[in-house]
Subunit: 328 residues, 2 copies
């Protein structure tokens, strides 16, 4: 029986990680931590059992108590203030919170002398702007963080190295690129498209306007279900102190995502640029190399089209259930 | 009349900065901040006047009030928990304190919409281990911090970039290499040698044992009086958002420093390695390139031999005054 501590338990990545364990019949006891309550989880689990504790990871003593008592074999550290846009509004808070919650976890593991394997989830934002000729970017590329969130992530990674080399903690670091899938909140770009497009698909003429930022932006999107399989693989086969890009290796423009979704929904849209959605110093193109992860045995299962149709179908259900609530 | 806010006011670098302003007849009003009281300053100043406020820079609101009221033209940010050795004992505190005090300053300047020029003092520790073939290391060399203090410094520098690019703050960053001079505390290596050697010089046979760490370590030492002249130059001619090594460009082994001091004192010592003084993951050799600073007009005035004899003479006075106190 594996013991997992998951931070950011109420987020969509954690939810998919649970599903991954269950569907692969991996027996696990889980303690989930989050500052927000999780949405109700409908699935019944046979192989995993979980306990949720609502807390602020900045409460160092509380975190220390929980880790000392539970003695996790693994910590999946997903919690973060991960919005780049918000990080520009509160740069100091973004930096302090993201780095401090990470340090609280590491200090607890160090304090209780545990041999816990920790997965420190980082971000492609750490690379900043990368020259086209250096794409797909590999893990050895210099880091050049260009927003407060990215700086916090780089600091987290440097701190992880210190705790590996200085205190022999067992930490593996990721630089996770964009990921998407069902249950992701609509403050993120793809679900926000899905939600708008579903509304358009209900128009009698199946035509409408979509409000977006810059649709020429190219990012490296993975299906969240492939991402959590990578995280599980890293817990089992990752090398202590190493950094792994978690990415598809393929660049996809937002334009293309919109076009695939429109085709699936059989609608026509006029794209309207909303200046509020243009993000400050956002990089125009980022694609990662996933060779290191693939060498470890990672296999991606989801095609872009399948991911996008699953997202649309998820939002159809959400919208439908909202309508039901509105009607009754 | 220039208005300077100096953090870490009670440290030896600040003291030399004041002396620099005075001896160059630079009129200045100074607010000095420190968590410790400054040692009594005997000099009478004609060109500068200063006001000291004892505070913890982690007190964000207090820092904000002071900066909002004083509206400094320049901030010389010297305050830090700068001991690498101690940073291994309290990694989390070292990181959090060093980065948070810096953020509190930046946020105050941003909040009051000041055009203050800020000198963010960093460290050669940011480079970590550098291959011999890359020495002297220049500002474009990748950073590889290998202790908690160094990670804090790198994070500070990345944060500085964000505040320059994202909020148009006027920040100049240094990577300051080892510096030494009168008034430096004997927790640092050169004054600790000086103190021990002076005691030996009082032995009738002028022989004795010196306890050290690894004396083969080569570092780039500058005279603190050259360092503060660099800081003043950077306030006046440095380019916003740029990083400058502050260093002599020459590597000096601890062995050589001991030998010069022994010659000056006309003593013979047997060097004893004290395992407690060997620092964890300490880099064996670091030399910086000071081309960028020299191109700005920096001139070093102090020869190594002069610096070391000044340090010895300073410690002779300190020891003498201690003896006087003990006798009366």
């Amino acid at each position: 029986m594996n013991k997992f501590l998951i931070t950011g338990f109420s987020g969509f990545v954690s939810r998919h990680f649970l599903k991954y364990l269950e569907s692969n019949k991996i027996k696990a006891t889980i303690v989930g931590l989050d500052i927000r309550n999780p949405e109700s989880i409908n699935e019944s689990f046979k192989y995993i059992k979980y306990d949720f504790k609502k807390l602020d990871l900045l409460q160092k003593d509380y975190v220390d108590d929980i880790i000392g008592e539970f003695k996790p074999d693994y910590i999946l550290h997903l919690a973060s203030l991960s919005s780049v846009a918000l990080s520009w509004n509160e740069p100091s808070q973004c930096f302090i919170n993201n780095t401090n919650i990470f340090l609280n976890l590491l200090e607890a593991v160090r304090n209780h002398r545990l041999s816990t394997r920790i997965l420190s989830v980082g971000s492609s934002e750490e690379y900043g702007d990368v020259k086209h000729s250096d794409l797909p970017v590999s893990e050895t590329h210099p880091l050049s963080p260009s927003n407060p969130y990215a700086v916090a992530r780089v600091s987290q990674e440097f701190l992880a190295h210190i705790y590996v080399n200085g205190y022999d903690l067992d930490i593996i670091m990721t630089r996770s690129f964009n990921h998407m899938g069902p249950f992701q909140k609509d403050i993120f770009v793809v679900p926000s498209f899905a939600k708008q497009l579903i509304i358009i698909s209900k128009h009698p003429n199946k035509k409408g306007e979509l409000f977006t930022g810059d649709t020429n932006i190219v990012k490296d999107f993975s299906d969240v279900r492939d991402v959590v399989s990578a995280y599980y693989l890293l817990f089992n086969k990752g090398k202590k102190g190493e950094i792994y890009n978690v990415c598809s290796g393929v660049g996809i423009s937002l334009k293309k995502i919109i076009s695939i979704m429109c085709e699936y929904l059989d609608i026509e849209v006029i794209v309207k640029i909303d200046p509020n959605r243009i993000r400050k110093s956002d990089s125009k193109m980022i694609i990662g190399s996933n060779k290191k992860l693939i060498n470890l045995g990672w296999k991606q299962k989801y095609q872009l089209e399948d991911t996008l149709s699953d997202i649309i179908n998820y939002w159809k259900i959400v919208e439908y259930s909202h309508e039901m609530h509105a009607n009754f």
